[in-house]
């Protein structure tokens, strides 16, 4: 009792304490309380598919949407709930944070979802790299379920603008630089960019993958190898960032990503580097891929940067909640949900055997590139979107990237600072 009180009070510290869904009533049906921040537009519609599926299977769904801040508000609520010893059944957590939560001892054992995963043989349905992100207990047992794969390293380009200036989609960064200079002299902003730290990092990882290559990317962003950070290759990457800075307009700092996408749609700007959620902006305006706009990967050696959204399943007491977790896991990995959800969201299914014929050409391209890159070693986790490195290390790198991009720091200095900053967080 006292222990519980202390835990509850400690929960208040972590955030202003939102104890909305304290406990469920009894009963034996499957129950689930799902914390997520998909509250708007296509995302909300996509999630409704899951809710309906859950209800159809006799489950009782308790929604716990926490809007705002790209999940920051949700994270504070979640921490309070977990510290208070009352975690939600499932929460929208991705990347190494899954294993970090497991290290705190609140995910398992027992890992109830692993039973479902074994029974349905998830190992055969997912690429091994994606599957590993979902596993706890030293990457042996499933404790989370993936719902999609976003590709990050995309060029979004206005076809009319490119055609009018006689430019084809660049296949190397040098080609891109040449095309951009041509566009600039024609009075078009070559690169629509919002210089917010996460957007700077998004561009940076695409450039690092392209100029450094797959092995270099892995060394820096997966192994956090400091000698690879403070290296001539990294200096070249930063040099290209400096070049890109010259291709952006004056209003770039602080601009939201969708405003930048709008500039490409209007033809004020030619290119944007952004994950495939940008596609929704084009298609909502009635523009068609291949006809009105291009979606092609940024130049790299068949690299592919992925962001996999997933739900973690915390350690639970009570039969109905455990039942709820198992049902939820099974439905999330279901073919129907994976297809419908991703049609709404603009990403592609995490599950490999979902037929792609209803998807558009961007998604089809993404799916086939994914398979090829997985074979050639080009499939790499996105650092800017929290699929690799601890949040602290990721943040330290992002600070240096955005500082370099928005100042006149030399590339050499930036490479050195990156290694130093990362050292501090390890």
């Amino acid at each position: 009792m006292l222990n519980q009180t202390v835990k509850t009070l400690a929960g208040f510290v972590v955030s202003a304490g939102l104890f909305s869904g304290a406990a469920f009533a009894g009963g034996h049906g499957a129950q689930a309380e799902v914390l997520h921040w998909w509250t708007s537009g296509g995302e909300a519609a996509a999630l409704k598919v899951l809710k309906d599926d859950f209800a159809k299977n006799g489950g009782e769904w308790k929604d716990m949407p926490v809007a705002g801040g790209g999940g920051d508000a949700a994270m504070q609520t979640l921490k309070a709930r977990v510290v208070a010893g009352d975690p939600p059944t499932a929460a929208q957590i991705k990347g190494p944070s899954i294993q970090a939560w497991d290290d705190e001892g609140v995910v398992g054992p027992p890992y109830h979802v692993d039973e479902v995963a074994k029974a349905e043989n998830w190992d055969s349905l997912l690429s091994s790299q994606v599957a590993n992100h979902m596993k706890c207990d030293g990457f042996t047992k499933y404790c989370a379920a993936p719902v999609n794969i976003h590709r990050i390293d995309w060029f979004w380009a206005n076809k009319k603008v490119l055609d009018a200036n006689g430019i084809s989609m660049p296949t190397s960064w040098d080609e891109f630089n040449a095309a951009a200079r041509k566009l600039q002299s024609a009075g078009i902003i070559p690169l629509a960019h919002g210089s917010q730290p996460w957007q700077d990092a998004t561009v940076f990882e695409a450039v690092a993958l392209g100029i450094g290559g797959n092995d270099f990317y892995k060394k820096v962003f997966v192994d956090a190898d400091m000698s690879a950070m403070n290296s001539p290759t990294m200096i070249k990457v930063f040099d290209q960032m400096r070049t890109l800075k010259g291709f952006t307009d004056e209003g770039s700092p602080g601009r939201d990503w969708n405003v930048a996408t709008g500039m490409v749609m209007e033809g004020k700007a030619a290119f944007q580097i952004m994950g495939d959620w940008a596609k929704g902006e084009f298609t909502n305006a009635g523009m068609k891929p291949g006809i009105d706009f291009y979606c092609l990967p940024t130049p790299s050696d068949h690299g592919y940067l992925y962001n996999v959204d997933s739900f973690i399943f915390y350690s639970m007491d009570g039969q109905s909640k455990i039942k709820g977790q198992k049902l939820l896991g099974s439905l999330m990995m279901g073919k129907n949900f994976q297809k419908v959800f991703n049609l709404y969201k603009g990403s592609i299914p995490a599950r490999l055997d979902v037929p792609m014929d209803e998807f558009d050409m961007c998604a089809k391209g993404s799916a086939s590139d994914l398979n090829y890159s997985a074979m050639t070693g080009g499939l790499q986790p996105s650092f800017a979107h929290g699929m690799t490195l601890s949040l602290a290390t990721k943040g330290a790198i992002q600070d240096v990237v955005t500082e370099h991009f928005n100042s006149n720091m030399s590339s050499k200095e930036a490479a050195k600072r990156m290694a130093d900053a990362v050292q501090d967080t390890l």
Binding site: P197, E250, P253, G254, L391, A392, H404, F405, S407, D424
Partner: protein, 292 residues
């Protein structure tokens, strides 16, 4: 029983709120200090780690930027707000027409949240949308006002927005103070041949000491905890050039899973407040005691 209750009722009524304040404010200050001495990452942990978080904090470039910005912001914000506040209140105090209307106009920004202020000024100051574009469209093609996107000047845009929001409030404080001053004093000084400006500078403003104190204390705490304005206006950018300690702390605690480091920065902010406010309050309160 009844008489006991009658005697102790104030204590009984006050005890719960006292206990709550003791625990939720002072208790958690102590808790934060302790957490700043641990290795806490995603969730609080309680294994003692010494002052390592403070060493990490003071070797973090971003923290230095934040502290430097806080100094610049606080000094300029407090000074300019008080100057403008005094000036406006004196002008309004000249028994002018439509005073009530003007007072509302100047006080109105205070009714907005810093988020609204920040967003509005973000558009006004954006070089491709706001003032700069306006002047260029008017034909001043060389006109440049790009502070918002200039990393050396971005902190001053926060000062501009904050001053716009808060100086009306300082004006109201001073106006209330001016109204409490007896007209006889001014009349007497005028008879003695003092000019209006010297009456204000040498007689009235020195009498405003309590108002200065309230304004400074209120403005200081606004500036030290300033977070929403920075987030709405620059989000700490370009790069991290307009970072502030409160922004740094929130980032570390909730985005970076660095609760220990965040706590140490919170403690540094707390000490800053103590270092400024305590001597000031002490001297002011002692003066009041002495004058009694």
């Amino acid at each position: 029983m009844f008489s006991w209750l009658q005697k102790n009722l104030p204590k009984v009524v006050l005890t719960p709120s006292f206990a709550v304040i003791l625990w939720f404010i002072y208790g958690f200050i102590l808790w934060t200090i302790y957490v700043s001495l641990t290795k806490s990452k995603m969730l609080p942990r309680y294994d003692f780690w010494g002052f390592k978080q403070y060493i990490r904090l003071w070797s973090n470039m971003r923290w230095y930027t934040a502290v430097e910005n806080l100094l610049i912001f606080t000094i300029l914000f407090v000074l300019i707000c008080i100057l403008i506040g005094i000036l406006l209140s004196i002008l309004l105090d000249q028994k002018i027409r439509a005073e009530g209307f003007l007072r509302t106009v100047y006080l109105y920004p205070m009714a907005l949240s810093f988020i609204v202020t920040g967003t509005a000024w973000k558009w006004v100051l954006n070089p491709t949308l706001g003032i700069q574009k306006l002047f260029r469209d008017w034909g001043f093609s060389e006109f440049t006002f790009d502070w918002l996107v200039n990393r050396d000047m971005s902190i001053y845009t926060i000062v501009i927005a904050a001053v716009w929001q808060s100086s009306g409030f300082v004006m109201a404080l001073f106006l209330a103070g001016l109204r409490s001053i007896d007209d006889e004093i001014i009349k007497a000084a005028k008879i003695d041949g003092a000019s209006l400006s010297s009456i204000y500078v040498t007689i009235i403003l020195p009498m405003m000491r309590p108002v200065f104190m309230s304004s400074i204390v209120i403005l200081l705490h606004i500036s030290i905890k300033s977070y929403d304005l920075v987030i709405a206006l620059t989000a700490g950018g370009p790069g991290t050039s307009s970072d502030m300690p409160a922004v740094f702390m929130t980032q570390m605690a909730f985005h970076r899973s660095e609760i220990g480091l965040a706590s140490s920065s919170a403690v540094m902010m707390f000490l800053t407040v103590l270092a400024i406010i305590v001597p000031y309050l002490y001297s002011e309160l002692r003066r009041q005691d002495a004058s009694r």
